[in-house]
Symmetry: C2
Subunit: 349 residues, 2 copies
């Protein structure tokens, strides 16, 4: 069945089900000229948005509708997490090509609603329209947090320890499996595929770390460790020295690299789409932050390097040599091969 | 010059200029994982969003880049106006096909920035990406207002007088000129073309009327008088009787209809994209609201009919006959020809 068989309005009724998971402070959801709600008092408002275009960001055949919907929302929740915020309201705009089936759309919204409900995020509105060719999805997420706890990118300090909240490189390995059509025939490969298709946004981690009052700067890993850390360095006007022996690589990625002759460090440095958080913490707070994180999440934070005055991104290898890292920035229009840190730009615009 | 010649990041620097027109309460605009700002205390937050797709909503050759950007923002401001709100922050997501020139993009953003600045609306973020075929634009506008003044759709009361804040049908006549390739060779035709290409969102009117505390329900005219009034009727579970002799038709539309053998009433009832506001007011407040509006805006509000218990949309013609009006709803997927009022759906989703 296609959308035109039931019409826009019947479909909107279908979309509406399960969108409101937290009714406090919502005055109007779907069904008026605008959604209306209250932001909790004494909180700053955060807004992030992400536009996904078929054949640019995803191929319908490479993922399920459910996973596509899930991930489209996940990347926005990850941006809120990277500020230390609590995501609260989501808005979904979709342009639907004529040949798109209702089943596919139901799956897409099921994936979004599943993740939204898990984080108590309401879907309060959006826009629905037709598209001539590609499926288009624009998601906007609004979050809130105390203003004094916001984790910016431009506030890293020389001497800060750099942390990652999780393993790096798994998602890129999962993408490799998809692109090379390699069946995930072991639990390790399954894990990597899942890391790419259904990344878990580190919302609780971001919020928790923000409340500690010790984090100087933060970003989520969407483009890759080197590129995203590069955004922090550039906007903070500093450099960093990573320790190659400390970059957290999962057992799954190690077994993948052993089997397919890959370098785990390459995957970790330039992988992208891991959606873990990178943050910088002053050295005197290092132990306290590590202990608090481990006590709360029952797994370690990974210290991977230090902020330096060099304005360059460098790495020490196992033998102690210092090597430059070239950020593998993802420029949608012009891949940067200059080796310089990309200019500060960031998620919004 | 194309975008790929300067790259995404240089272009983002270009976009950033002139985006921040009101710095109070903005903690971070473009350049981090999310924008951060304060909503004024004791205000509800409004969010509306609109997704525009080339070849579905616009043709590049039918309008200038400036006007396209202007109108894309205008329709969102109009949604905030229809709630009685004050628009404050805008977020622009854009997917850009490879053949799009920098000049075109500059024009597009100039149109948005022009209108945003006029309404003291900040452009605080968005997303930029590539598109394989069509230019895609998703605009989200956030507004605020006192919760007790919000103008919903579902709150019309039997006996209410229905008002329009401006002429109806001009925009459709302007569209006719474009579709039929008729040159706007008189000031009247120029006016109609302008009404279609650069509609003025009634932001001040909406805000002012909301503060009067007398308006029961409101909506903006995007799909057409019959269709949009239909949304109010359906969601309020009431009907309406319009007076054909009272529907405000501009001198320009009259001269257009005389020249091209059109019926002004048809244009006014089913035209769409006028972006004036319709609202319902209890009869005892009619005189006060009319007088206050005229005193403030130096032009009249137009009383065009009454809310009835009929649950139908009807109109009396000049001879006093009562005729049914069939809402010319704009369903992006399945045009409704049943004659029934379309189900309540609304702007968001």
């Amino acid at each position: 069945m296609k959308l035109k068989d039931i019409g826009e309005f019947a479909w909107i009724d279908r979309v509406r089900r399960g969108c409101l998971v937290r009714k406090d402070a919502v005055l109007k959801g779907i069904g008026d000229d605008a959604a209306v709600f209250h932001v909790p008092p004494h909180r700053a408002t955060l807004v992030t948005t992400d536009l996904l275009v078929e054949r640019v960001h995803f191929l319908k055949k490479a993922t399920s509708a459910f996973n596509l919907g899930y991930k489209a929302l996940a990347v926005n929740l990850s941006d809120i997490a990277a500020m230390g915020g609590e995501p609260r309201e989501a808005f979904i705009s979709i342009a639907i090509p004529e040949d798109c089936t209702l089943d596919y759309l139901d799956g897409l919204y099921a994936g979004m609603k599943h993740l939204a409900a898990r984080h108590r995020v309401n879907i309060l509105g959006g826009d629905t329209t037709a598209s001539k060719t590609d499926l288009i999805l624009n998601i906007m997420v609004l979050g809130t947090m105390p203003a004094e706890e916001i984790l910016f990118r431009h506030t890293a300090q020389i001497g800060d320890v750099i942390f990652s909240t999780g393993f790096l490189g798994d998602s890129r390995a999962g993408l490799h499996l998809i692109l090379e059509d390699i069946p995930p025939d072991t639990p390790a490969l399954e894990k990597l595929l899942n890391a790419h298709l259904k990344p878990r946004p580190h919302v609780e981690e971001g919020r928790f770390l923000a409340t500690l009052g010790a984090v100087h700067a933060a970003i989520d890993v969407s483009d890759g460790l080197s590129s995203d850390l590069g955004h922090i360095l550039r906007s903070s006007n500093v450099g960093a020295l990573l320790d190659a022996t400390k970059i957290p690589v999962s057992p799954a990625l190690k077994s993948f690299c052993a089997r397919f002759s890959g370098d785990p460090l390459d995957y970790a440095l330039s992988g992208g789409e891991d959606y873990v958080l990178l943050m910088t913490v002053p050295p005197e707070a290092e132990k306290r932050v590590l202990a608090a994180f481990e006590k709360t999440f029952h797994r370690p934070l990974f210290a991977i390097g230090r902020i330096t005055p060099s304005k360059k991104l460098e790495i020490t290898d196992a033998s102690g040599r210092i090597l430059p890292v070239f950020p593998s920035g993802w420029d949608h229009f012009k891949p940067d091969t200059s080796g310089f840190l990309p200019p500060d730009q960031g998620g919004p615009v």
